[in-house]
């Protein structure tokens, strides 16, 4: 029981470390730009957190810069308190994709490898944020069962993940690009947390998690961790010789089989606790009513691992590959102005929108890049002939329409015609509402009028699709919960003895 609480705390702390490292990096950026004291730039939630929760504590350290330099990255490869840690799968995949060995990367995978050699697949059960998500999915299946909606119970083979690992590495080698780096759940989650802290959007990568969760919910329980995770395969293979294992005391076991359905990896703890599939999560120990399962430290049976001089030498080599990272103070050589965070510096980022028609390259530049509804935005069209290199000089016409999900688009800015000025066409327009607009450019090209639409988003309008999806998801969940409650009540009624019925029969 205590072990399970510790495991939950460790899982939570991994998420916390991932977010904290991203937050420290964000703080490092603000610090490098010297804007911590700038109230205007540090406004908003992100700025508040950085100035109130990070800055006072880090700034108090003896060498804040060294501390900040020592914490970077995501769970794929992280520098934590100055120590480089990389996922062994990252090292393996990079070696496969680039067909060469980069020793510092192998060295930084040494800590996880050594931990796995000792404790087995604990990176799955104790540290992986994906495992947390899929454990929760497993809990959701219980709700489905409670509502008497029977989720699928398809069982796939544990071997699939080893096949997947090797075929995936082969594909990475074939395409010379990593395959797992973008779908491996812990990395996807830590990258998403990182993006969340930094305020960038990375919606696309959630597709992976969504597909896995849906598949586990309705088709195959704990499908990913049990049968498909390439990281689990790597850790399973490395953890083959682990001395820390779960054992069964056959004298105490009454054969109640309570441990089998609770096993996160879908194995039978009574017979298979020695297998490489066991991730030492200890859930079976907690559910054993007879205390027959226990953790033990034992060197494997003679059939298993035996340390030979060659194997010891290999371990020594792995350890000796640790190279400490030193930062030496160096001299200052270049003098540059520093602009980036000062958005009031005249060159604010703009949005550039290229298009092509006939021989012409059309470039729409919008300033500011994402227009504020109700405020003036500047649009500049720059049109150049790709073949002759000369600039287009005939008058052009622009009108703006607001898009509508249902029905026709409405014109919010009637057609305006402009002559070029300094080789470009300038329009000052106002987008009235938070919505999607179409900027329609009409220009004469070779005797006919070409119309080019440019999509422009003002503010952050809510997409109709996501509203519908969220609404439908919420409705389905409500339905499942309501059905679960209803079914539970019905079962309770059926089980309760009906006093009237008893009276009649006696």
């Amino acid at each position: 029981m205590i072990l399970q609480i510790v495991r939950r705390l460790v899982q939570a702390s991994v998420l916390l470390v991932t977010v904290s490292v991203a937050l420290l990096c964000l703080y490092a950026h603000y610090r490098a730009a010297r804007v911590i004291d700038d109230d205007q730039l540090m406004a908003g939630l992100r700025g508040e957190v950085v100035t109130k929760m990070v800055h006072p504590y880090v700034d108090r350290l003896a060498d804040p810069q060294a501390f900040l330099d020592g914490n970077k990255g995501t769970l794929w490869s992280m520098r934590l308190m100055g120590v480089d840690i990389a996922d062994p799968l990252a090292a393996a995949e990079m070696a496969a994709a680039s067909k060469r060995i980069h020793w510092p990367l192998i060295a930084s995978a040494a800590i996880p490898i050594v931990i796995t050699l000792l404790f087995g697949r604990v990176f799955c059960s104790w540290l992986c944020p994906g495992y947390v998500l899929f454990e929760l999915t497993g809990k959701l299946r219980r709700l489905l069962r409670l509502a008497e909606i029977r989720p699928g119970e398809v069982v796939f083979s544990h071997r699939n993940k080893y096949i997947g690992l090797f075929v995936g590495l082969a594909l990475a080698a074939l395409f010379s690009a990593p395959l797992f780096a973008l779908i491996y759940p812990p990395v996807v989650i830590s990258r998403a947390l990182h993006a969340w802290v930094f305020g960038t959007s990375l919606v696309g990568i959630f597709v992976v998690l969504g597909v896995i969760v849906a598949f586990e919910l309705f088709v195959s329980p704990r499908w990913w961790c049990r049968t498909m995770c390439p990281g689990g395969a790597v850790y399973g293979l490395i953890g083959w010789i682990r001395p820390v294992r779960i054992r069964l005391n056959a004298d105490r076991c009454t054969g109640c089989r309570d441990c089998i359905p609770v096993c996160e990896e879908g194995i039978n703890p009574i017979t298979q606790s020695m297998s490489i599939e066991c991730d030492n999560c200890g859930v079976c120990i907690r559910h054993c009513p007879d205390e027959a399962l226990y953790y033990t430290i034992s060197l494997p049976k003679p059939r298993g691992y035996r340390p030979t001089p060659r194997k010891i030498a290999a371990l020594v080599v792995v350890f000796s590959m640790f190279v400490s990272v030193e930062n030496a103070g160096a001299h200052h050589i270049l003098g540059l102005p520093h602009y980036s965070y000062k958005e009031n510096y005249p060159q604010r980022p703009t949005l550039e929108y290229p298009a092509h028609t006939g021989p012409y390259d059309v470039l729409l530049t919008s300033y500011p890049g994402s227009p504020v509804p109700g405020e003036a935005a500047n649009l500049a069209f720059y049109i150049k002939n790709r073949e002759t290199g000369s600039v287009y000089s005939q008058p052009i016409t622009v009108r703006i329409l607001q898009t509508s999900t249902f029905g026709d688009n409405t014109v919010v800015q009637p057609a305006m015609t402009r002559e070029p000025f300094d080789n470009e066409y300038k329009f000052h327009v106002t987008f009235p509402l938070e919505a999607e607009y179409v900027i329609e450019l009409s220009m004469p090209v070779e005797g006919r009028v070409e119309v080019i639409p440019f999509l422009m988003i003002a503010g952050q309008p809510t997409a109709t699709g996501s509203v519908v999806a969220a609404g439908a998801g919420g409705f389905v969940l409500l339905f499942v919960v309501a059905r679960a409650v209803q079914k539970k009540k019905a079962r309770r009624r059926a089980n309760a003895v009906n006093p009237n019925a008893v009276l009649v029969t006696t």
Binding site: A28, H29, A32, Q65, D69, G73, S77, M78, A86, A90, E93, M94, A97, R100, H102, P104, L105, S108, V154, F156, R159, N160, I163, G164, V167, G168, L171, A172, F175, S176, A177, P178, L179, F180, L182, I183, L202, G204, V211, V325, N327, A328, G329, A330, H332, I333, L334, L336, H338, S340, Y341, Q347, P349, T350, T365, N378, A380, Y382, N423, E424
Partner: protein, 202 residues
């Protein structure tokens, strides 16, 4: 263990669908379009193809850049480039770690995979090894070539005098052999669209 046909099809299709889905999602089978130039890479990056295969997409360089000029490429990037670092000088340019006290350029120092080769923060080493791209001027847009006088890019250039020189009316000239492609000129250009931009070397 005997494997019957039904079981073989079931397990095989699970593995094949997963890997097929991963290939689709990571877009590694998709070729880069010939018309789009290759993205700007951080200093010390290997040649583009080697870079894509070597970079493990851990985002450490994105975190390390003191000027926050690097960002991870979106999931929609073709040719397996998703997640690799790139730079948009118009948002933020490479400052060549000018305000830092580190021995090496910071992105190259944190890279665990060797996709970014170590570069010392010395002027000679920087001019020799940093090859993000080369700045190109659009003479139809540049104010100094169109009856005005500006010079913003020249003032921003960290290697002014070597990578960029100015003539009468502050008309800039880029010297490709000395330009490292840091993008400070693109960042500082006051024209919309900008009249000078960095083009990757590949």
């Amino acid at each position: 263990m005997a494997v019957n046909r039904r079981e073989f099809v079931k397990q095989g299709s699970a593995v094949a669908l997963t890997l097929g889905g991963s290939v689709y999602l990571s877009r590694i089978g998709e070729p880069a379009s010939a018309s789009t130039p290759s993205p700007l890479r951080p200093p010390g990056a290997l040649p583009e193809d080697d870079f894509v295969s070597t970079c493990i997409r851990c985002m450490r360089c994105v975190d390390a850049c003191p000027n926050h000029c690097l960002e991870s490429m979106p999931h929609t990037a073709p040719a397996g480039r998703a997640g690799t670092p790139t730079m948009h000088p118009r948002k933020a340019s490479c400052m060549l770690c000018a305000h830092e006290d580190s021995e090496y350029l910071k992105c190259t120092e944190v890279c665990p995979s060797g996709a970014l080769q170590l570069i010392e923060r010395e002027r000679e080493e920087i001019t020799e090894k940093v090859a993000i791209g080369v700045a190109e001027i659009d003479f139809d847009l540049c104010y100094s070539y169109n009856n005005w006088s500006c010079g913003a890019c020249f003032r921003a250039c960290p290697l002014a005098g070597e990578a960029m020189t100015v003539g009468a009316w502050e008309r800039p000239t880029v010297h490709p052999e000395a330009c490292v492609g840091c993008g400070c000129c693109e960042r500082s250009c006051i024209r919309y669209p900008h009249a000078i931009r960095v083009r990757s070397n590949v």
